[in-house]
């Protein structure tokens, strides 16, 4: 913390470095100093039980993936972590780094020479967005896999700066802006997250990518449902990743689900609402056409899994 203060905005935090180092190599991040928080004791908290979890930002993704308690109490979180990149990256990548992952775009995650050739872009070194050149914003994509699950689990985030500490819903630190995807201010560190008890909720994560390892999500959907005894949905959270500059709640779909039991009809209706809402841009692998359809399918599949309906309704064509 003191180091951060000393070096001012020339410094950046590095936890696992699996996001920051590629960005430095591409010169989209150009810190003069890197402050390693890999082993900062304050970030190493790890308590998990039926009564909830407190996870330090320094928790390795591999621990989230393998820890027996997490797998038992928050299986969707373990699953989302296991779907990130590759074992070597999960061994060093952290929860905090995933939460603060820079937004991604295939005009931006490129070498300096490549970006120079295209004339750079708004997110770095130019006023123009190459994806939507007429506009005044950046559409880079929020691509973290654990974040939608954490939001679906209604997690809070603990943010510290100096002696200040604030706790707020994780969802609240994100904003729809590819340039500044979080509202964290300089010097603020994510210390950890707190997840409420899972009791009564069933949470599922679905990820689409082209390869079974290495790849960031082209669409990711986390769904969490709490139903009452009669099977009526009391609470629903649907969070999408990789289709917008922030982890986007699918509120219209959530509203459709609440107050009725999960049936094939309500699931299809929710799928439709997600399809209408999801507006991926052409700045990742895959196509807009396909990713939009995948958003629908993934939400339907997640809901069917929760409702214990047959997983795939093959649309007979």
């Amino acid at each position: 913390m003191a180091l951060l203060a000393e070096h001012g905005t020339d410094a950046m935090l590095m936890a696992g470095g699996t996001d920051l180092l590629p960005n430095i190599k591409h010169r989209v991040a150009t810190p003069e100093h890197v402050v390693s928080i890999r082993d900062l004791p304050e970030l190493q908290g790890f308590e998990v039980s039926e009564h909830g979890a407190t996870l330090g930002a320094g928790t390795r993704l591999s621990r989230l993936e393998h820890d027996p308690q997490i797998r038992r109490v928050y299986p969707a979180l373990a699953e989302s972590a296991s779907l990130i990149s590759v074992p070597q990256v999960r061994a060093v990548g952290t929860l905090g780094g995933n939460i603060c992952l820079d937004t991604r775009c295939n005009y931006y995650n490129q070498s300096y020479e490549w970006r120079q050739a295209i004339g750079f872009c708004m997110k770095r070194d130019s006023p123009i967005c190459r994806v939507a050149p007429g506009g005044d914003r950046c559409w880079a994509v929020a691509s973290a896999d654990t974040v939608p699950v954490l939001i679906a689990l209604r997690a809070d985030v603990e943010v510290v700066s100096g002696h200040q500490e604030r706790v707020l819903p994780l969802e609240a630190i994100y904003q729809d802006d590819g340039l500044e995807p979080t509202t964290l201010t300089f010097g603020e560190i994510v210390q950890g997250i707190k997840i409420p008890p899972p009791h009564g909720y069933v949470t599922v994560y679905q990820k689409f990518r082209l390869r079974q390892s290495f790849d960031f999500p082209l669409v990711g959907i986390a769904v969490s449902i709490r139903s009452d005894i009669s099977g009526i949905v009391a609470e629903a959270r649907i969070v999408m990743t990789a289709v917008a500059s922030y982890p986007e709640r699918a509120e219209p779909a959530e509203r459709l689900l609440v107050g009725a039991p999960l049936t094939e009809e309500s699931i299809l209706a929710a799928g439709n609402a997600v399809f209408r809402q999801a507006k991926p841009m052409d700045n990742t692998a895959g196509t807009i056409f396909h990713r939009k359809r995948m958003a629908r399918i993934l939400v339907e599949r997640a809901l069917r899994r929760i409702a214990q309906l047959p997983e795939t309704m093959q649309r007979v064509s």
Partner: protein
Amino acid sequence: MSTDITEEPTGQAGDRPPGRRSFSVVGKRSRKYDWHAKLTGQAKYADDLSLPRMIYGRLLRSPHPHARLLRIDTRKAGALPGVFAILTGQDLPTKYGILPSSQDENALAIERVRYMGEPVAAVAAIDEWTAEEACRAIEVLYEPLPPVMSIDEALADETPKIHDWTRDRNIQKEVLLEFGDLEAGFAEADYIFEDEYFFEGNTHVPMENHAVVADWAANGHVTVWSSTQTPHYLHRELAKVLELPPSRIRVIVPPVGGGFGGKSEAFSHEIVAPVLSRLSGHPVKICLSREEVFYCHRGRHPVKMWIRTGVKGDGTITAMDFSSTLDGGAYGSYGIATTYYTGALNTLPYEVPRYRFRGRRVFTNKPPCGPKRGHGTVQPRFAIEAHLDRVAENLGLDPAAMRGHILVKPNTWTINHLRVTSCGLGDAIEAVIERSDWTRKHGRMRHGQGIGLACSVYLSGAGLPIYWNPMPHSGAQIKIDRGGGVTVYCGTSDIGQDSDSMLACVVAEELGVDLDAIHLVTGDTSLAPVDLGSYSSRVTFMAGNAARQAAAQLRARLMDVAAETLEVPTDRLAAAGGIIFDRQDTARQLPFDEAARLAEARFGTLGAVGSYTPPRLAGPYKGSGVGPSPAYSFTCAAAEVEVDTETGELRVRKIWVAHDLGRALNPTVCEGQIEGGVYMGWAEATIEEQVFRKGLHKQPSLLEYKIPAAQDTPDIDTVMIESDDPEGPFGAKEVGQGPLAPVIPAVTNAVYDAIGIRLTSTPITPDKILHVLEARRKRASAAV
């Protein structure tokens, strides 16, 4: 004669033809020659080399796909501390190119840049950071020109010309070949089918990025260590561009971390490194970044194809008319040969009595395309095999049976003058049918699941050299020392295909020694006789025969002294495992090293040379140089797929492949080549594509150019068919390239079997599948 050795870890090669001596090394599963170095981290690849005082080079590349190069100012860069030398295009004015007919590249662009990533200047500096800084400090003034990014744009009426010399728009080359009376052939047909296909471009992605170390010594001799598949051609091009007598240049090939065709001609970094070394007085290393390797490319051409075939009711082909348009990228590279290859092998492996081929290659403002595994034959094979699947369906024939029925026969000539000798494709088809349970599955699986099959053919070495000359294509030299050690000198370049093990195997077999007794000196233009390079699957056939010829001479001398010593006639002698013995009385033995000493005393120093020149097979027509080969390999593959009709995702569950390789010299290595080829074909079928956007390579990285990883890869069932080629070394043909080609149409045909829609372009992405399914749904609901 099909020999399945997949389940037999210490498998023997197949049946012995009568009268042939049994093998002691050939057909055995043995470790690769340099296994120890490669498995302990001791193997030194080009970028692992380090010379005293070595400095680092880097290329500055064009940010424009197409531009005039108005001015380059290197003064600021030159003034940076730690910068030793800078080069620009004017310093290396001599043009070069792999084909004598396409001498169109400069090591550093002069006046014009034609693709984003084309080198324009080179720097040598104390370290890589300084070299990078210096590149940024070079000021280049460009005048951008409109880029031409596709075949259609290259052929548009008002298209800007990429090379001023092209006569018709951006067409580099047009070829027309016609054999037999096409009209009559179509008139004779019961049915005529016509289809169009597009094969998307893709690239090699060897795991090792290209690297070079060059040392210009005080005596004016130049040594270049490079990760190249073709040291001989690099040697020639260096002599040409550096304007040096070739005798002063030595090219050494360290272990190469994969090539697949991507390292088979001279690249800018290989040419500028020695010059930077001369200017700076230091050895210079240049190691390309992964992104730069995407700009080197020379990979699979995007090709538009059209095919028309006349058939009889039983599938017999009466005539075939085929045309292709290749998107060549910015320069010639191997492209003219590639263009011919999109036509040359289409008269195999089925009988095609009348055939016309029209091909053309256009220039575009993209990195040059060239040869990738299966050079130019993979795209038309996709088209033909997908087309034939449709033909079979329409004729009501089983596509596997139909293929079996129309196969070429061994020991025949095709209409375009290709000589077929051994052919084990019939056995291959049978093996695949049986092992994949084809008959029970094809057309009978539930919606969304399917199986497809296809066949292919490939060369065992191009019959003609790249530059015209009457000399051998491969040479080998062998010496035997007094301890019984055998050293083989051969200019082959081992890029992972295991040409080293092949040489060791052939020589050990011929001399009757264990593999342990063999030492190799390969990939060195000064120490070893020439081998033209690791391309066109030529090394086993050609270098193998050359080495065997040299070994046979030594064997004769050893047998002479052994016959005398053991007092038995030479024809009763055999040699194996380091012992020469009497076949009738195996107790009568002479150890190999003893025989070597006796032979040296009798004949003088034990050395011999061997060479291989392919038979003259080219037909009597212009363009006949591409296609002839001393032997052809044949492959059959079947793929079983599952299509998620909701998401469009395509999962290839399993691929069965049977490949006629003549003889499996080392079954483990051969299977590895087959599996690797099948993997690459499947990846081209389903996921890989080299695409451009706004004049730039869209995804020059391993994260975004998707090469499949461990969990993605399907199960592969491999069968090796040993047709025992009469001219191959111990009957061997090729195995490195052939098995790739049939996989792509096999997957395509399987997708048809699964969802009833024929896809006509590669790769078959989930997006494409969903598009066609949705279009069909719309048509269906409109029809209601």
